[in-house]
Symmetry: C2
Subunit: 407 residues, 2 copies
């Protein structure tokens, strides 16, 4: 039998999806599983997008332009310009999800063996894309104590080597929900200009900022037009994860021309998804007002509910629909599997994403989980009750051990 | 300004798409361009597939399973089993087009610097995927003189090194339309078993075989279950290029498990395309009978028409909807550009794909072009008239030079 490649062997499993078989088994036993593990919102897709799909009137499902339909790119540039980002349709390549945009960015900006600095915890699949591209992820650790704010500039500078080619951020962040301030972005700008790096920003949660805080894009920074690449996607914005439509956005013409060669090789992004995406540009403002209101309520339920459980610590996220919480457990990986394999309360259980997979530094995040508040408020409350009960009976609870030690 | 990566610079431009700006300019001048350059068929998508899209009744466009919807994979396995390929749904990962399936295959089976042997001329984007994966393409040349049949086994064996990990074929072939016989596939089987290689077969044109010839899949071969990977796609089968739905099919469980890690990183293939693809499985047989009849007529028009032009040589393809023809020109690249930039006959011109981009060996194919017979018969006839006129006046015609030399 021929051998699997070394890089294939090295490719990480998705820490989010590896628990799926346990969840499936729990469901087969008749248990209800509260899915707080994935970024699949329950929010409805805007009607205008679904209508456009239902009303298609062509007879051949053709390839689009490799950069995506021009009409869509023009519409998208208007959307960006309403946010004062100063983007033309020539700065945009429509991609198959944000995933493909990130692969284009890695391949275009970094060689095999080059380094990208990413504040951790970070979206676990960045590891997969880095492995695919042969790029080394150099983590700079952000701490739950500061609510996962930007690490000190000195921490970044310590890590910069001749192999460093880029810094990648997610803003607001998955998994932390942290929203970077303008000042933090200015710090990043100064680092990338000083060291001649690319600054890649995954801004797919841009619409979801809370407590009156404004989202700043790296395109709002002046003087890094040649360094800045934005990864975008309609998956979360319009609750259309399955459309697989994202965007690679950059004002550096050489970067766009290079990324276009990768785009040409795979011919075109999905046609149906582009139709839905273009129509979604007409989504009324009220849609987002309602969604943001809903997410704030959910966030409050989750953050307050979690912090009310003995031994749980959860900072308040400023955006996105995730929170990272520290649990009073020996090992969150084991705990999450146990929740699905062994635990039930009223025949219900909770699925969480263990946070260790969101860290590149071994040994970090082993007591943390990512909670996605993508269920309705009643379900979130029930899930919190379930989680509280679980922590009371879990053998590996550090709280329980303390109690036992007292005996 | 930060630097583009070396691999980004090395990434080839699509030889098929690089002429697009010239075609756009010709159209802006009011010229009609006959597009014989791309594999975008004009054949209608099956109604059953479009209907399924128009009838979607969900409110959230969700991610699917990373391997694709189970119901679709089960349906697809039935489709394969009707062809006696003995595939279960667990052998299938639904991908974003055949393009992604090929990237999964390269990443799973080959390391950076490993070699894949491909009979040339081959589908030009294989170069792009190889560059993306850091894999070296080692071409084994097939000749227009034998109608692009499989090169001698000795030619393959000369090229095998410790770095050789796979052989990749396209059957029936793009760009040649060549259909491999069972005997040729048996030869390939013996080579891969002897040298412990993977055999990757791009079989996306499976339905389009002519003159009563049967398509043999590499899954029809016995004893290479662990070595065989089929790249599939619905783009051509159902004229749904824009759906971006393909499949990675393999019976080697370790290979599938590894490819699944790449699939998990990008979360899911397109949801809308999967719905269209699953519905398309119910396409009536009459659809394919009509399409194949139409393609045979078109092929005959093209092959006969081309061979009737002085100095043109075009073997008869046994499948797909392409033919490679040798033209009496100095350089097909220049000729194709000239057709768009300068030539017109009755305000019409023809767009062809220069074949040099389909060869990895420098200097081969410089007089050849790929002709895609994806237009209706009347248009093909008009395009042939146009091409004949063009060859009569083209300054770089080798026929004309001969004529001049006689003067």
């Amino acid at each position: 039998m021929p051998f699997i490649s070394n890089r294939g062997n090295k490719m990480p499993e998705s820490p989010i999806r590896k628990l799926v078989p346990y969840a499936e088994a729990a469901k087969k036993k008749g248990r209800k599983v509260f899915h707080l593990n994935i970024g699949q919102p329950d929010i409805e897709t805007p009607e205008v997008a679904l209508k456009a799909i239902k009303n298609i009137d062509f007879n051949v499902v053709e390839y689009s332009h490799s950069a995506g339909n021009e009409s869509y790119r023009k519409g998208l540039s208007e959307y960006y310009n309403k946010l004062d980002l100063n983007i033309t349709h020539n700065d945009i390549i429509i991609t198959t999800g944000g995933s493909e945009a990130l692969l284009f960015a890695f391949n275009t900006c970094l060689n095999e063996g080059d380094e990208v600095i990413i504040p951790e915890p970070f979206y676990a699949n960045y590891n997969g894309f880095a492995t695919t591209s042969g790029v080394n992820v150099i983590p700079v650790t952000s701490s739950i104590e500061t609510g996962f704010g930007l690490p000190e500039i000195s921490e970044f500078e310590k890590l910069i080597t001749p192999k460093t080619k880029a810094i990648l951020i997610c803003n607001p962040g998955n998994p932390t929900g942290y929203l970077y301030s303008k000042e933090e972005l200015e710090i990043l700008k100064n680092i990338v200009l000083k060291h001649n790096l690319f600054l890649i920003a995954d801004e797919v949660y841009r619409e979801f900022c809370y407590d009156g805080k404004k989202h700043y894009s790296i395109f709002n920074l002046e003087g890094i037009e040649e360094n800045a690449i934005v990864i975008d996607s309609i998956s979360k914005r319009y609750s259309m994860c399955g459309a697989r439509i994202g965007a690679f956005v950059c004002k550096n013409k050489q970067v766009v021309a290079t990324a276009m060669k990768y785009a040409q090789a795979r011919l075109s992004p999905p046609t149906f998804g582009q139709i839905a995406g273009e129509a979604a540009l007409k989504t009324p403002t009220s849609y987002f007002e309602n969604v943001v209101k809903e997410y704030i309520q959910r966030r409050n339920i989750i953050v307050e509910g979690l912090n009310a459980i003995e031994g749980v610590k959860c900072p308040t996220p400023g955006g996105a629909f995730y929170a990272v919480a520290e649990l009073p457990v020996d090992d969150a990986d084991k705990f999450c599997q146990w929740l699905l394999e062994e635990f039930e309360y009223n025949n219900q259980t909770v699925m969480l994403a263990p946070a260790a997979g969101f860290y590149a530094t071994k040994g970090l995040g082993t007591k943390e989980v990512r909670v996605a508040y993508v269920l309705n408020q009643e379900a979130l409350k029930e899930a919190l009750v379930c989680l509280k009960k679980a922590l009371e009976v879990y053998q590996g609870s550090t709280i329980q051990k303390k109690a036992e030690m007292k005996l």
